[in-house]
Amino acid sequence: MTVLLDTPPTVVETDGDAEDALFATLSERAVQARRLIVDMAASTRGCHLGGSLSVLDILIAALHRASAGDGTEVVLSKGHAAAGLYAALHVSGVLPENPAPLYGLAGHPYTGHPGPKVPGVRFPTGSLGHGVPYAAGWALARRIGGQDGLGIAVAGDGELQEGLVWETCQVAAAQQLGNFVLVVDRNGGQNDGYVEDISPLHRLPERFAAFGFEVAETDGHDLRALTAILSADRSAARRPLAVIADTVKGKGVAAVQGKAGSHYVSIDATRAAKWKRAIR
């Protein structure tokens, strides 16, 4: 974990057993959620499998941070990873019903990109870039009200090609929104191939730093590291935080892990059962 923070993150002091229990819980949530995502790939619609699996641990950690109840809002800006969001919301207890059997079906809100009819989702995302300013606006609202709580946007690295992201970074830095956090799910892929081949993101950490952000780089599948960064007290921070989380597209499913072709996947029930059994 590389950290370029004004104040290094601290993990809430607990005894070792309690901390181990927490991360065992979060890890188990991730396993269960990955199986749900595979179920959604096996629906009649298929799903954005690779990005849902890459962003999942980030979402698990962010939703755990939000569960503190201080008004933190998590916005999945890369809305095409809706299957990952639905699964994460379900295993985190925010979404009571299992979304997998209902995914993509008429009469149910679990569309291919998420909207506010899904419990736990406030904003429609999927038209890329918008979730970043939604979360920044939320952060501004908390600050105006003198309230704690973060606005956390989770974006894809391909999504950073949208100008709206940088427009918002400019505004967030100018407004000194220390309670705004932008987590980048850097899985290296986008719809038509690799980010590196289509529109590479040169010197990304330096780019955020130049905008006036604090910057942290971490393994995006390390739940302890993610939780430590997102749990840090930012009530006195004056600079927004960018977390560049390195992830693997298709993480956790060996058949697709690391493959650009995992972007959108539709599979049959037999293959889904096999993949789910292998998820650990």
Binding site: A136, G137, A139, L140, A141, V171, A174
Partner: protein
């Protein structure tokens, strides 16, 4: 002396915010210096810089947290540059965000085509659930802004640049502008008891031209419309059709997607003539009126339309 639409907006919002601490004012570097809201409520005023999309979307986040954001930037940048954000915020989310858009139509005049917006009504009218207003004069602008703040519903309010007009009706503090404001109505009873052509005015310059036209043609009725979304236009159409059959709609907007087109569909038994901007792109300088004239939006054009309407009416039932 009346204030311009945008000055009236700034002043009224500043007054409202004194009592309503949920009101937030956002600008995108075009609010002018010395904004009264900033002076009165600096903790709730934000100039976010030249970032229209971010401004609309951040207003969405603020609204989700319980605030009433009012955002303002020039109409072409609000309605066109940030159109996708408006669709999601004002339409899909029905967020309590009010967009106040000066420089509508060609009020940007000599600044050129980049600063003109003859398409905003078409864009916003196609988004369900958005209340669209084009107030005429200070009192009407104040009333519309009060209603936006009171209702908490998504609003798009278009206005011009610096022109200042006296509203047709002075609205009291609690009054909501009616769908139709009659400046003058021929005939005395209900039903189609008047063969007079009715001018229907939309927005600041449409209303100015209609008032001028009625002075030149005193037997012409004049109905002014404040709200231009489908729901309000449906109510307006019902009211208009109770009294007249022949209408000349004057609006500083392209005919496509404008009020005349909507009214024609809502009043199938009536004849609706449009005086609006056509297909041209005004690419030369001039003041506001000169640029409008280049588009065919001037008094002779309105009077010619009235004359044609007066002579050309063919009742639908007679044709059948």
């Amino acid at each position: 002396m009346s204030l311009s639409g945008r000055d009236a907006y700034r002043d009224e919002l500043t007054r409202i915010a004194a009592d309503d601490t949920s009101v937030i004012c956002l600008e995108a570097d075009l609010g002018g210096k010395g904004h009264p809201f900033e002076a009165a409520h600096p903790d709730r005023f934000f100039n976010l810089g030249i970032a229209e999309g971010a401004m609309v979307d951040m207003a969405t986040g603020l609204a989700a947290a319980g605030y009433k954001p009012f955002i303002s930037t020039f109409a072409p940048f609000a309605a066109l540059r940030a159109a996708e954000s408006l669709k999601l915020t004002l339409g899909y989310l029905a967020a309590g965000v009010t967009v106040v858009a000066p420089y509508a139509g060609v009020s940007g005049a000599w600044f050129g085509t980049t600063h003109h917006c003859l398409e905003d009504l078409a864009v916003l009218r196609s988004i369900p659930g958005v209340t669209i207003a084009a107030p005429y004069g200070e009192a009407e602008m104040r009333a519309v802004v009060r209603e936006a703040a009171r209702s908490g519903k998504p609003h798009y309010i278009r206005t011009g640049r610096n022109a200042a007009y006296d509203s047709l009706d002075p609205y009291g503090d609690a009054d909501v502008p009616p769908p139709v404001t009659w400046e003058f109505r021929s005939g005395s009873g209900s039903g189609h008891d008047s063969d007079a052509v009715c001018l229907v005015s939309v927005g600041e310059e449409g209303t100015r031209l209609a008032l001028e036209a009625r002075r030149a043609s005193p037997d012409t009725s004049h109905a002014h419309l404040v709200y231009l979304d489908h729901e309000h236009l449906a109510a307006s159409a019902a009211e208009l059709a109770r009294h007249h059959r022949r209408f000349v709609v004057v609006e500083e907007h392209r005919g496509q997607g404008g009020a005349a087109e909507a009214l024609a569909l809502l009043m199938p038994g009536c004849e609706v003539t449009s005086v609006a901007a056509g297909q041209n792109w005004p690419a030369q300088g001039g003041d506001h009126e000169e640029v409008m004239a280049a588009l065919g939006l001037d008094l002779p054009a309105v009077l010619a339309a009235v004359s044609r309407a007066r002579g050309g009416y063919r009742p639908a039932q007679a044709a059948a």
